[in-house]
């Protein structure tokens, strides 16, 4: 079994559009958050796009994803509506969760997005549940749990990986190691240094992949997801990369070296790397990509304008969406 990394032009264009949409969405939020209009905290995914997109291109609406507090990128890549997301972040009634979730609780079950999550490591049990359901119902679906280097030290993630292995669930654990749990360096806090090394303790394969390289992520996750779909059980994939912004917006990032982020942007931008390679391979032209850039900018402009103009939830809305009525 091998997943080809040879993508068609349409697939490459789709991948670029997704990554560019995430980047534009996050860069714009970075600017807008400073105006004080956005309630709560936002944690931005810029710089990490290759991970979400390289994974999500292998998934469909029947596959489930649970993400983290840094979840915008995963939501966009899983197909959650960008207008609805922006409205949600602004706390508007037109948001995907009617403005009551905000940045850290964006969810859209119709797209298989179980939600961003404010609780570190909370996606593990959710994905075990989704994967168990897929296995039980023989739907062919898989569950993908994104978590960070901070969550990699949480008991709930260990328990989830153990359960997934014991029950041989179609689950994929994607450890997005961006180097810092809030302000704590993963080289200090993760005892094994490589999160992937923990996989053997749970009886599953563990691999490390360069998170700045879309093609590397796409190929490795393709293998892991195919393996899960065909009854091969869970996999732990550690994606190593770094984030462009702070832990949250407003984080002064005094724990990072001077010039660290600029160096990342200059030398390890997953979008620039993607462009260099697809243009060199004559799969896509720079003009095509600039066309996508313009379309994405229009999309984000529109999402931002609509979100700001949309109504806030009313007091009565506090009483809706509280309980689910089962038939």
């Amino acid at each position: 079994m091998s997943v080809s990394s040879d993508l068609s032009k349409d697939e490459l264009l789709k991948a670029y559009r997704m990554m560019r949409t995430i980047r534009e969405f996050e860069e714009r939020l970075h600017v807008e958050f400073a105006t004080g209009e956005i309630p709560g905290f936002v944690h931005l995914y810029a710089g990490e796009e290759a991970s979400a997109v390289g994974t999500m291109l292998h998934l469909n609406d029947a596959d489930y994803v649970a993400t983290t507090h840094r979840g915008h990128g995963h939501c966009i890549a899983k197909g959650v509506d960008v207008h609805g997301m922006m409205a949600e972040i602004y706390g508007r009634k037109t948001g995907v969760c009617h403005g009551k979730g905000g940045s850290m609780h964006i969810a859209d079950l119709s797209k298989g997005m179980l939600g961003a999550n404010g609780i570190v490591g909370a996606g593990g049990p959710l994905i075990c549940g989704a994967a168990l359901a897929a296995k039980y119902k023989k739907s062919g679906g898989v569950g993908v749990c994104f978590f960070g280097d901070g969550a990699s030290n949480q008991g709930v993630i260990f328990e989830s990986m153990n359960l997934a292995s014991v029950w041989r669930l179609p689950a994929i654990f994607v450890a997005e190691n961006n180097g810092y749990a809030e302000a704590t360096s993963s080289t200090w806090s993760v005892a094994t240094d490589n999160i992937a090394d923990r996989a053997s303790g749970f009886g599953m394969p563990g691999v490390i992949v360069d998170g700045f390289d879309f093609f590397a992520v796409h190929e490795a996750l393709g293998e892991a997801i195919e393996r899960a779909r065909h009854g091969g059980g869970p996999t732990l994939v550690e994606v190593k990369f770094s984030r462009y912004f702070g832990h949250f917006e407003g984080d002064a990032q005094t724990y990072r070296a001077p010039g660290e982020v600029q160096k990342l942007r200059d030398e390890k931008d997953c979008l620039k790397r993607f462009e260099e390679r697809v243009v060199r391979a004559e799969m896509l032209s720079a003009d095509q990509l600039r066309g996508v850039d313009a379309e994405v900018k229009t999309l984000i402009d529109s999402a931002m304008t609509q979100a700001k103009a949309a109504p806030l939830p009313t007091a009565e809305d506090l009483l809706s969406d509280v309980y689910v009525s089962y038939p």
Binding site: S2, I208, A216, R227, A281
Partner: protein, 360 residues
Amino acid sequence: MPSPVTVGVIANPASGRDIRRLTTYASVFPTAEKANMVVRLLAGLGVLGVDRVLTLRDRTGVAALLLRALDTHAAVAAQQRWPQVEFIEQPISDSVSDTHAGVTAMLKAGVELIAVLGGDGTHRAVAAHCGKVPLLTLSTGTNNAFPDLREATVAGLAGALVASGAVPAEVALMRNKRLVVRCVDGPNRGREEIALVDVCVSRQRFVGARAVSDPADIEALFLTFASPDGIGLSSIGGAWAPVERTASHGLHLRFARPGGVGAIGAIGVPIVAPIAPGRVERVFMRTCERFEVGVWMPLDTEHGTLAFDGEREIELERGDRYEIALDWDGPLTVDVERTLRYSASRQLVREVANVAAHHK
């Protein structure tokens, strides 16, 4: 006072964690075991007179575990002579350039020998910069063709006998072949890469997760040697026309695309070979020829990637024209068995150990 006998040690912290853990049943070689292997190597080196070891820092725990082991040794077993271990001061980039810079620094420091712990890729990275300094090769895992899979203590004994000059170079060392690929025209003109075991022209367009996992991706293969009991891409040559490391030639194989247009696969000879641990695959070979030393052969391919010792490295660009040649400028490596056999015939271990003990 004679200068201390110094040996470099490179233990690749990143080896053994790539996609092959997923696409094959390749072994996982944990950080703790790499550090333990260095410790066993130190025991062998130290007892036979190596005074000093230079090694690299890393961020994945090999150096940290080694430091802990050195503290323990000093506390409980100091009577067993270990070399003094020093870490080279250089920035850590968590990439292959750490190895390149480390080897350069070791050469500058005058090491007699470099012990390498890693896979084919690690050895290739060291070989690109080690010049005339011989390598003591140690495989960290079962997925490698170039380095020896053996106990590090024993390798350390042989390494010490070579580094100290107790066993002459003409007995202890062997010269290896290598493959050189150079770009002679196009946007990447001037680029040059080497391989110690194999160069594969892969049909995959992008480097991606690097490993060549699917036999259908193999367009052509150039081999420096092909052991009949080898693992990896070179096993394909080994299954059809084995070539010794010492043979004066290599191999060049071309493959049909299975199930391609017009069933081209049917015109190839089916060969079954262990291309990876737990993966015995069938490939359809179109041609298999001797590849002679010193002949530059054009790599006729427009798309795809070039893989070196099993890892895709170069994405082909329009206009790029690559050539490949085989030469004898690969690294010198320690023949551990021959070194220790020579040593046994002259009872060198007893003498050298006595000298080392008194020296202490």
